[in-house]
């Protein structure tokens, strides 16, 4: 606690301390979701068996389901959710635009296009093979959007949002065009494009783990400066914040995080947009709290959506990308109703 207090300017009551119960509550909810994600599904397993299976005490089909299928799925869900949530918070911070998210920067669309082209040209057929194509597509699209938005060395937030949206629409229509060229591509790609955590071995997590962690570190490092950025570029400059460099670093963090997420799970919309909007009413606008808050809220949302998708159409299941869009849409509509005046 003394460490937290030391990081805050004197005279200001520590916001972290006041919000500590909320953060703990969020962590508890996240743990609950992870447990449910391990236990529930087409074949439900009692929580006690889940515990035994995790520590290697249990044998049999239930244990195999938990350790072989649900554990990788839950871990990937945690990673994807965390990456998307933090990427959303940073994207909204650097663009000062509450509508910004990895999706509006063209990241999901870029990954989708790259994967569809790879399926079409190279005849790939499993999510593990798509990982690097997805990451490359996401990074390419995001860097292109940021290059479009550069203006005398700095990234113009409005141009970034505009350019990203333009790029996203173009890439989406090219994706459809490639899919329409050949039936096999359509058949393979439509499931990946929905965004799903199922049938993903941990092999999709290891390659992108370094980029994911690097992105997280950069995001946490720039988050204090995002507070100054929220005051406007001129004020931030006057406060001694290197605006252009912060925005560049933030953009890099968004690319690393969202690129890793889409490489693992496919394009999952709305977590990056919804997580910051969910955290802001609870923790306030301070990015030092918002970014860690999204680190919890992102996986919480994603895992909850995934569990829900498994429960609705048992024994079949709904792709998590579809669930997040269905749930995120009314949530955002309600938030818009409350927040925007």
């Amino acid at each position: 606690m003394t460490v937290t207090r030391r990081g805050v300017p004197t005279g200001v009551p520590s916001p972290a301390l006041r919000r500590l119960p909320l953060l703990l509550g969020g962590l508890a909810a996240l743990a609950l979701c992870a447990a449910l994600s391990l236990a529930l599904g087409a074949r439900s397993v009692p929580l006690s068996t889940v515990g035994d299976a995790l520590f290697g005490h249990a044998r049999g089909r239930d244990a195999t389901v938990v350790t072989g299928l649900r554990l990788p799925r839950t871990l990937i869900g945690l990673a994807v959710g965390a990456a998307l949530g933090v990427a959303g918070a940073v994207a909204q911070g650097i663009t000062r635009n509450p509508l910004a998210s990895p999706t509006t920067l063209g990241i999901n669309a870029g990954a989708g296009f790259a994967v569809v082209v790879a399926i079409f040209a190279l005849r790939l057929d499993s999510p593990v093979e798509y990982v690097w194509f997805a990451f490359a597509g996401a990074a390419g699209a995001a860097l292109f959007a940021q290059a479009l938005a550069r203006r005398s060395g700095d990234i113009d937030p409005v141009r970034l949002a505009l350019g990203g949206t333009v790029l996203q629409l173009v890439l989406l229509s090219w994706t459809s065009a490639v899919m329409l060229l050949n039936q096999r591509t359509l058949d393979e790609a439509r499931f990946w494009l929905a965004g799903s955590l199922s049938d993903r071995p941990l092999d999709v997590l290891w390659p992108v783990l370094p980029t994911l962690l690097l992105g997280l570190v950069v995001a946490l490092a720039v988050s204090p400066a995002l507070n100054a950025l929220a005051l406007g570029d001129d004020s931030a400059q006057a406060l001694g914040v290197p605006v252009a460099r912060i925005r560049l670093a933030g953009g890099a963090a968004v690319v690393l995080l969202a690129g890793s997420a889409v490489a693992m799970a496919g394009p999952v919309a709305f977590i990056g947009l919804a997580a910051p909007h969910l955290v802001r009413p609870l923790l306030g606008n301070d990015h030092r709290l918002l970014v860690p808050g999204c680190l919890i809220a992102g996986p919480l949302l994603l895992l909850a959506a995934d569990v829900l998708g498994r429960m609705v159409f048992r024994p079949s299941e709904l792709e998590v990308g579809i669930v997040t869009a269905f749930l995120g849409a009314p949530l955002l509509a309600l938030l818009a109703r409350r927040v925007a005046r």
């Binding site: 509508l99 409005v158 790029l167 329409l180 709305f270 579809i322 849409a329 009314p330 109703r337 925007a340």
Partner: protein, 349 residues
């Protein structure tokens, strides 16, 4: 800048210059439309001279030519023209209504709703003929959802745009769900419908949607004055005696109807509605009485031209026209964006 539409101009020279540019733009647009229409009637599997094609259009000449021109080429061309005009006008109305350069039927979810309606009817096994009805119903459903969520003693701009994004995402998810769950061949057809295409339109569809479109377009042009007053800002418009929320709702409904009817003909063709208002503003400057009509004309030329590119210039067959409008529209929009990004920046809340 926006006030220029209704305030008396102080410098008559700039006024004549704008008028000359508008006239020039209108003239070249009409010529381009005529040329493209003729090309679309003459070129194809059975090439014919322009004279033959025009005579076949009114039923003269070889019976085969008449069949090809009257039943295949003409409805497709008219569908593209009508849908393009509707999309262009809808985009123009929406961007001025929301004072947001990104507002368009795509952003608001109207086209998402239209795709959902079309795909849902496909899933139910309805005939191709009923699909435009589904698209129209879906577009109106999206608009109703938008109104239900965003209405709160008036329609504030930020809330509408945010809500529109939400509605759009929810409807797109429903479409996505169907594409994933469909058998493969139906999924392809659904995807075609969600990208936008005027392939295989018949006169029945064109007359229905086109007639409604003409009516709505006329109303939109009549309501132009209200739009110009709203451009002054809510407070000034209210002081001038305009009931801002009611007027905004009327204009919004008009734009939704235009976009849905267009989607009923061509599917949710992207970018026409987004790019056309930027093109018109770039050429003619601040909005004038003519800009709505010009947006319609530009949209028609753009969509017809893109459809010709899809049909005849591309080496691959069966591409949806939406892919081409996106590819053509994007660089345009980017150039415009780069040139005028400072005024755009100032308009952001």
């Amino acid at each position: 800048m926006t006030g220029a539409a209704v305030l008396p101009r102080t410098r008559s020279s700039s006024r004549t210059r704008v008028r000359r540019r508008v006239l020039l733009f209108t003239g070249s647009g009409l010529v381009a439309l005529f040329v493209l229409l003729t090309v679309s009637l003459t070129v194809g599997e059975m090439p014919m001279s322009a004279g033959t094609a025009l005579r076949a259009l009114v039923g003269l000449g070889d019976a085969g030519d008449v069949l090809v021109v009257q039943q295949f080429r003409a409805p497709r061309a008219v569908a593209a023209v009508v849908a393009g005009a509707g999309l262009g006008t809808a985009g123009c109305v929406l961007q001025r209504l929301f004072r947001n350069p990104l507002a368009s039927p795509d952003v608001m979810g109207v086209t998402g709703g239209a795709s959902l309606g079309a795909v849902a009817l496909l899933a139910a096994g309805a005939s191709q003929l009923l699909i435009p009805v589904g698209a129209l119903g879906g577009g109106l459903l999206a608009a109703l959802l938008l109104g239900a969520f965003a209405w709160r003693s008036g329609l504030a701009v930020t809330r509408l745009v945010l809500t529109g994004l939400a509605v759009q995402a929810g409807l797109a998810a429903a479409v996505n769900l169907m594409i994933v769950r469909f058998p493969a061949e139906l999924a392809g057809s659904a995807l075609q419908w969600t990208t936008g295409s005027v392939y295989g339109r018949t006169w029945t569809e064109v007359w229905g949607a086109g007639g409604a479109m003409v009516v709505v377009l006329t109303v939109a042009l009549v309501l132009h004055r209200a739009l110009a007053v709203l451009d002054l800002g809510d407070d000034s418009a209210g002081a001038l005696g305009l009931r801002t929320s009611a007027t905004r709702l009327q204009l919004l409904f008009l734009a939704v109807a235009l976009a849905s009817l267009a989607a009923a003909l061509a599917g949710p063709v992207t970018f026409v509605a987004l790019a056309v208002p930027h093109i018109v503003r770039f050429v003619t400057g601040p909005p004038t009485a003519a800009s709505l009509a010009l947006a319609g004309l530009t949209g028609a030329v753009l969509l017809l031209g893109s459809d010709l590119v899809v049909q005849h210039l591309l080496p691959v067959e069966g591409l949806p026209v939406g892919a081409v409008t996106a590819t053509l529209g994007a660089p345009w929009l980017l150039v415009l964006m780069l040139r005028q990004s400072s005024p755009v920046r100032r308009r952001q809340p």
